[in-house]
């Protein structure tokens, strides 16, 4: 009988050790997947944001109907003539108002997209992906406890170009026997003048725009709910009640094989820069992939 008990005891020790080792290695593999998937999710969100905002930027870079007619560089001219409203002299800025409304709307749309894709929503997605990497038998997430990133890591590294915007007004002279004549009126006469402080124009690269890589550390602490009960038979194995913290690192980046898609602040001195930069890069488009987290580790 004592021999039997001793044999069973040794046998159980092996099983317990195997259960603990299995859990440890499984967690390590799961955490690496959590970090990889969270990093790729962030890079995909970033790529989507840049592609969508790039297309809007292209419109904002159109000369004449949008802000790309910037001559001199710090004044954008929007020239959409109003239709002839009749009478001897027809002075109007209704098209200027419409253009201003639309351009303001597009700028606001870009700002909201920037907040969504370059901030909180992306962080929530990354955290959720890492947490939902695994589920326990009750259906609760038992993946990573959370993620760690550098401050400002989710930013899309874009700035708003500011400058005066002149929405030109229109004057029609309907002189009998001579036919209607169109004259454009500067906003100082009729139209809308937006000063430089409020004149939000296209998006351009910030100085750190090239830093499109995001590093994510997924962590699972020893005291995590999903670690409850581990180490299995810890006292018997001499491990005590302390389980292990698990960390995994991964990096992913957005990349575009054709170019940056957004002008630099220097490019913005030239008319239609935002439009040209978009068409240079739109065939490639922003994409996402895993990259080495540091050159040294090559991991």
């Amino acid at each position: 009988m004592p021999l039997f008990v001793m044999c069973i005891f040794v046998l159980c020790l092996f099983w317990f050790a195997l259960i603990n080792l299995g859990k440890l290695v499984k967690d390590r593999m799961m955490m690496q997947n959590a970090a990889d998937n969270a990093a790729v999710s962030v890079a995909v969100m970033r790529a989507r944001g840049l592609n969508a905002m790039g297309a809007i930027n292209a419109y904002l870079g159109l000369p004449g109907v949008a802000l790309g007619g910037n001559v001199p560089a710090d004044i954008s001219h929007v020239i959409i003539p109003c239709s002839n409203h009749g009478g001897l002299v027809s002075i109007c800025n209704c098209q200027a108002k419409k253009a201003e409304t639309m351009i303001r709307g597009l700028v606001r749309l870009q700002e909201h997209m920037n907040m969504t894709y370059g901030g909180g929503t992306t962080q929530l997605v990354a955290e959720k992906v890492a947490r939902n990497q695994e589920f326990d038998f009750q259906g609760n997430p038992s993946g990573a406890d959370g993620i760690l990133v550098d401050p400002g890591a989710f930013s899309l590294h874009l700035n708003r170009n500011m400058g005066e915007i002149w929405y030109w007004g229109t004057m029609w002279l309907n002189i009998p026997f001579c036919g209607p004549e169109l004259f454009l009126l500067p906003p100082q006469v009729k139209g809308i003048l937006v000063n430089k402080k409020d004149g939000k124009r296209w998006l351009e690269q910030r100085s750190d725009f090239h830093k499109q890589r995001i590093k994510i550390i997924a962590y699972k602490n020893a005291g995590s709910d999903s670690n409850k009960g581990y180490p299995f038979a810890g006292k018997l194995l001499g491990l005590g009640n302390k389980w292990f913290d698990t960390r995994a690192i991964a990096a992913a980046a957005a990349y575009n094989t054709k170019g940056a898609m957004f002008p630099t602040s220097g490019d913005g001195n030239y008319p239609a820069a935002a439009l040209i930069k978009y068409f240079e890069a739109c065939t490639g488009g922003w994409e996402a992939h895993l990259v080495p987290s540091t050159p040294e580790t090559r991991h």
């Binding site: 046998l11 092996f14 290695v25 690496q32 170019g259 895993l290 080495p292």
Partner: protein, 171 residues
């Protein structure tokens, strides 16, 4: 008196019979535990090796780094255990799901298939299988050739693993 005499060897006999069954069973369980541990460590090593391979800029670097990562992880996992011997790491390029696929730019999508080989020492192999010649548990050879496999799609564009676009500074 006669009755006692007749039962005098019964306990020894019963113990002997039980031990004949129990001891091999215990060693079999221990052996299976060690094999399972080896397999777990090897799968971890294969995954780490593959994870390292998919972000390298070319196939040669992928093979080199996969080999280093695999051996490193395997060695650290089994440190102290001399019944698992890390072997080679084989890395080859495969087409995922057996179907040639391309991304939107027309580049082929490849995966790396990484195999972590290792040798598993077997206790009392001649007892488990006394017949020589079979691949596993062969009577005269007390090692088992094992492997663990991992497959991942590699990052698509090596040019852009250190920068975001063509004329960009590195990260």
């Amino acid at each position: 008196m006669n009755k006692i005499k007749k039962e005098s060897g019964q306990a020894v006999l019963e113990t002997f019979v039980v031990l004949i069954v129990l001891i091999p069973a215990i060693f079999a369980v221990i052996q299976l535990s060690i094999i399972a541990f080896g397999a777990i460590a090897a799968y971890d090593a294969a995954q780490s090796a593959n994870r390292s391979a998919i972000i390298q800029s070319n196939d040669n670097f992928a093979k080199q780094n996969a080999a280093l990562s695999g051996i490193y992880v395997m060695s650290t996992q089994i440190s102290g255990a001399n019944n698992i011997i890390p072997g080679t790491v084989d890395t080859c390029t495969v087409i995922p799901a057996g179907k040639q696929m391309t991304d939107h730019e027309g580049n082929s999508i490849y995966a790396y298939d990484v195999t972590q080989n290792y040798l598993q020492k077997i206790m009392f192999s001649s007892l488990v299988n006394p017949l020589p010649g079979s691949q596993y548990f062969s009577g005269g050879i007390n090692v088992m050739s094992c492997s663990a496999n991992s497959r991942m799609v590699r990052s698509p564009d090596p040019t852009y693993r250190t920068k975001a676009y063509s004329n960009a500074n590195p990260w």
